[in-house]
Assembly symmetry: C2
Homo-oligomer: 192 residues x 2
DNA sequence: GATTCGATCCTAGCATCGCTAGACAATCGA
DNA sequence: TCGATTGTCTAGCGATGCTAGGATCGAATC
């Protein structure tokens, strides 16, 4: 039995290696550079091995997205728990979100820009994604304002952050005023 | 001389045909389906003809984006001019923006998601793009609030709309609550 | 210890992609 | 009428995601 277990363990290791390598390559040179050939070469296996773990490139992107969602949730909770008062918490949340997007562009793309074949806003949505949204919700619920559904408020706030993140990174917004935009957004949207 | 003029006219016609066909194909089957081969076949010319008009596929996307920006500006101004009062104008603007994104997804992608090789937020930004932003600015300046730079306010409002548009279309937000989100966004961000 | 057999992995290849070189034909000016 | 220029097409390059089929290796059996 232990032989089988060892093989399964090695297989799981290799799968983690694939995801980590794909992420690394994407962060270094962008997702366009993550080709199945290059990825296979980096993990020192042939191409078809990738397809014994994942259905295709899309599923690999999805795996990176799930990993990233878990990390984002951790980062958001760490930022909010370190701040005092609703206003400071929301501001910290917004900055943490935008920081994550800025410092992990490939992961952010896998999560929200590319097609990773994941289900969103549904019952069968992966736990990692639900939890990342929950991390936003926990903080934002207390500033949603009377009579406003916390989930709806979180969606709007999140959309605004997502817009800022993507437009900035795509060069549509200049990064200089990023902090001013966050201030304005928090001041207006959050009800203290 | 008239022969030369006729040829130039025909060439310009063909260029418009390329852009229109690319847009049509993208709206029908998505940008992935817009390959140089398929596009060439639809305009009934060979592939290399495309490259005598555009540097590559990227520039074709850019041309569709510029066309779309001009249309969006028209749509936004039409919506705002038909509304009475600041609150109604901003709400109409937001709805018009999201409607445009919903009904012209391929054009919206060309504008804000794909790489069309265009310069944004710079001096050499094409007029169409500047004008589309101006259409937003014209309406939003009157609700930016005291001491808030209208340009900055417009960027934040725009980012929120962009976030709603992309997240909804990518299935990250359910379309049912779209109207509620717009109401919330306008109520909070706009200072009446 | 030899042999069978199944799992595992790789070589080679398919269709398609964006893009381009070079051949060919049509048109123009002399 | 004849070279030159312009315009267009055929054919092909390197790269992509993905897969079929054969080779190889290790575990279990005799």
């Amino acid at each position: 039995m232990s032989v089988k277990e060892r093989k399964e363990r090695e297989r799981a290791d290799r799968e983690r290696l694939i995801v980590a390598t794909a992420r690394e390559l994407a962060e270094q040179q962008g997702w366009d550079a993550v080709t199945t050939r290059r990825l296979a070469e980096r993990i020192e296996y042939s191409q078809p091995v990738l397809y014994s773990h994942f259905r295709g490139k899309r599923e690999i992107i999805g795996a990176v997205a799930l990993e990233g969602a878990a990390e984002m949730a951790v980062a958001l909770r760490a930022a909010t728990s370190a701040a005092d008062g609703p206003r400071a918490r929301v501001a910290a949340l917004a900055r943490a979100y935008l920081d994550f997007a800025e410092h992990n562009p490939a992961v952010y793309d896998a999560l929200f820009q590319l097609d990773g074949g994941l289900a969103y806003a549904r019952e069968d949505t992966p736990e990692q994604l639900k939890d990342a949204f929950a991390a936003l919700l926990e903080c934002l619920a207390e500033v949603a304002g009377d009579g406003v559904h916390p989930g709806l408020f979180t969606e709007v706030f999140w959309a605004a952050l997502h817009g800022l993140a993507t437009l900035t990174r795509a060069g549509r917004l200049l990064p200089e005023d990023a902090e001013s935009r966050v201030e304005l957004l928090v001041d207006r949207l959050a009800v203290i």
